[in-house]
């Protein structure tokens, strides 16, 4: 075939240009560590990467949510532990009332102890979290849940329970309302304590007085036991939730590793392959350049002297 001289140069330059641009692309991949430099390199993988990145980001957000839930539940659990200690103290005091040798005066001391325990309990029921929100007032998180009254305490919160998204399909309650814990099942622990204080402050003179004292103490003890049970039930529920958070954390961490692996598979460069490719392309480029120079220097005019 006839070959025109112009074509000889054009084709040579075009081939060298092709190899150069392939080499430049490999270089860019190596410099960025990315296999996919733009969506056109692999359109399906590009949109898949966006999807996986979103799923991964949501998964990480759930993990952050769980940290928050764990902190809140930890605080609830700690508070409830103190509540239960306080209630046990009240119970011990009530048990000691059963001693027939106690004087009115000594019962008065116990009444004073109960009053101070009442304040402690009220303080615990009105605990705030780090942000200053009340733990036990439902959705009314900026309203003091319990306000003391002569007969006990009234609940000012509501029955709302704050839920947090801890996994794609799981919303978990982080709070329990004060009403459930302290005044649940028709049994108001604040009223019980106030009643007991009143009872212990009543002087025992007649046998009827003594009978009323022993009956009242028995009722009080039973009510305190119910309250302790209510608190323990809530703590058990909080503990179960904390355990669930732990297992969700494990599952979430496993998923995170998987998403990272998928993203890496889609986006990241195989350096061994890329570096091998780069040396091969360099070799091709050098060969193309050298052969072009040799071919271009062949001209009949070189021999016409």
């Amino acid at each position: 075939m006839r070959i025109s001289t112009l074509q000889l140069f054009d084709t040579g330059a075009a081939r060298i240009g092709d190899v150069q641009s392939a080499l430049a692309k490999t270089q860019q991949q190596i410099a960025t560590g990315r296999k996919m430099l733009s969506p056109s390199d692999d359109p399906v993988a590009a949109s898949r990467a966006l999807e996986v990145a979103q799923t991964q980001s949501i998964n990480q957000q759930y993990a952050a949510n769980r940290v928050q839930v764990k902190n809140s539940l930890g605080q609830v659990d700690g508070t409830l532990a103190s509540v239960s200690d306080t209630l046990l103290g009240i119970r011990d005091a009530l048990v000691s009332v059963g001693n027939p040798g106690l004087t009115d005066n000594e019962r008065g001391f116990i009444a004073t102890e109960l009053s101070s325990r009442f304040q402690a309990l009220l303080g615990l029921a009105n605990t705030r979290d780090a942000q200053g929100n009340y733990l036990f007032s439902g959705f009314q998180s900026n309203t003091v849940p319990f306000v003391e009254t002569p007969a006990g305490a009234t609940y000012q919160g509501d029955s709302g329970q704050q839920l947090v998204q801890v996994d794609s399909t799981r919303r978990m309650a982080v709070s329990d309302t004060g009403q459930n814990i302290f005044q649940g099942g028709g049994q108001d622990v604040f009223q019980t304590i106030k009643d007991m204080v009143t009872l212990l402050q009543t002087p025992v003179v007649t046998p009827a007085n003594r009978a009323a004292l022993s009956a009242g103490t028995a009722t009080g003890l039973a009510d305190i036991d119910k309250a302790i049970n209510a608190v323990l039930t809530t703590r058990a529920s909080v503990g179960t939730r904390m355990q669930e958070i732990d297992s969700l954390d494990d599952a979430g961490a496993t998923r995170d590793v998987q998403y990272k692996a998928i993203l890496s598979e889609i986006q990241d460069l195989d350096y061994t392959e890329a570096l091998t490719r780069q040396s091969r392309q360099q070799l091709t480029l050098e060969a193309a350049q050298q052969s072009f120079v040799k071919m271009a220097s062949l001209s009949l005019f070189n021999f016409l002297r």
Binding site: S4, T5, Q7, P39, D41, L50, Q140, V164, Q165
Partner: protein, 545 residues
Amino acid sequence: MATNILSIGQSALTAAQVGINTTGHNIANASTPGYNRQVVIQGAALAQNFGFGFLGQGTEISTVQRVYSEHLATQVQTAQSGKSGLESYYAQIRQINDMLADPTAGVSPALQGFFASVQNLSNNPASVPARQSVISTADALAARVQGMDSRLAEIEQGINSQVVSSVAVINTYAQQIATLNDAIGKALRSTGQPPNDLLDQRDQLVLELNKEVKATVVKQGDGDYNVFVGNGQPLVVGARTSPLVAVASPTNSQRVEVGYLASNGSLVIVGDNGFVGGKLGGLLQFRSETLTATQNALGRVAIGLATTFNTQHQAGFDLAGAAGGAFFNQGGPFIGANSGNTGTATLGASITNVGALTTSDYHLSYDGSNYTVTRLSDNTASTYASLPQTVDGVQISLASGIPAAGDYFLIRPTAKGATGFSVALTDPADIAAASAPGAVGNNTNALALAALQTANTLAGGSVTYQGAYGQMVSQVGNKTRELEVTSAAATNLLEQSTVAMQSESGVNLDEEATNLLRYQQAYQAAAKLMQIAQDMFNALLTIGR
């Protein structure tokens, strides 16, 4: 006899000179674009009968011809317009592809950041910093969407100016071809010989023209080239040209379209699909196929997010216990009335169902009794006797006036969705996180807002916001990849047809070197012949001495 030998020698000398001249011309133009090598067509002169037989009278040059194949040249022109079209499309789409390339700079991470802050809000509904963060991340998202939208608008503007300059270049080439038609015709008529270099110039202009737009040449009997572009629109007829014009679109002043002046003087718009190939064809095809769809897809994500988020937000209550307002602002549908409409009608359009929105534009025309709405992405048409009508989630109504037969409108439901996408709230307390008034710890509505991130709200309930955005990215990526492959193939095709043409018509310097030697020797031989004739004449003269 000696005189005859002398004149034979002279004819040989002339022929050798013409040969060296032509070879020199070939060597000089070895790198001239569009040059076709020239050859001397030489024949033996008519012999003379001397009784004892016919005696040769030397040589004679009939013409100097260029080696040119019309068939191969047409192949190169076609391949050139194909390649230029794909390359100009590719150069445009690459801008979008590159814009979407960086995974950390796209809309996607901003969308994720926004919803992460909504989740944080649901964890701390009363927290002012958490609320502020929702507004800040929403602002960042809106800025990202608007930034991408304005980049697309820049590309649209860029196309307008490129269309204008391409049309100017086409008209210049047309004028030059017409001038050459005239000059070539005159040369042919006056000499009867082909003006090779003028012919080369004209063919090169046709090739250059094909870089701008696909042009078909019909060669006339008198040697003129008549050139047609688009849908058979004559650009050059003989020495006359009918120039193309670039004008603002009658339905969308943002866009420049290409048309021509009809014989009655009225302007005829050719439409984006009317021109194929060449830079102009590639630009127009990119605009109608990819740019419009990308603008609309981005707008759809913005409108979808704004509408569904607002609906949920308005179902809740803010910190002060008041019902939630609109969280996002969004851009409404664009309606462009044809500037040549003779009726008084103005149209209204509103989005009634974001789930049904497509990424297409629509064309509405009125024929005097019926309205026809055409979805431009697939040319699906529906005919209605009256308005309002709802098409793909958009309610189209007659806002005022009466249309006349022949009136038409362009409706772009989501094109401005991203342009008008912004955050309506400024006060963190206005975020409606609660499902009931007066409970600051109530996070129920915030949870519902956060859940929208993974809800399939768009494209008939099949994809999330992120999914719809991902579709857009993948469509641009796919088309770019397709163009990478097809434009590489077109480049190969052009190269092959150029090689085929060049192997016929191109200059090979080694060949010219051979010719140079050949004509040099012929020249020396002719000179020798003349010297011999001289010697013979001298011999005769010495006889008489």
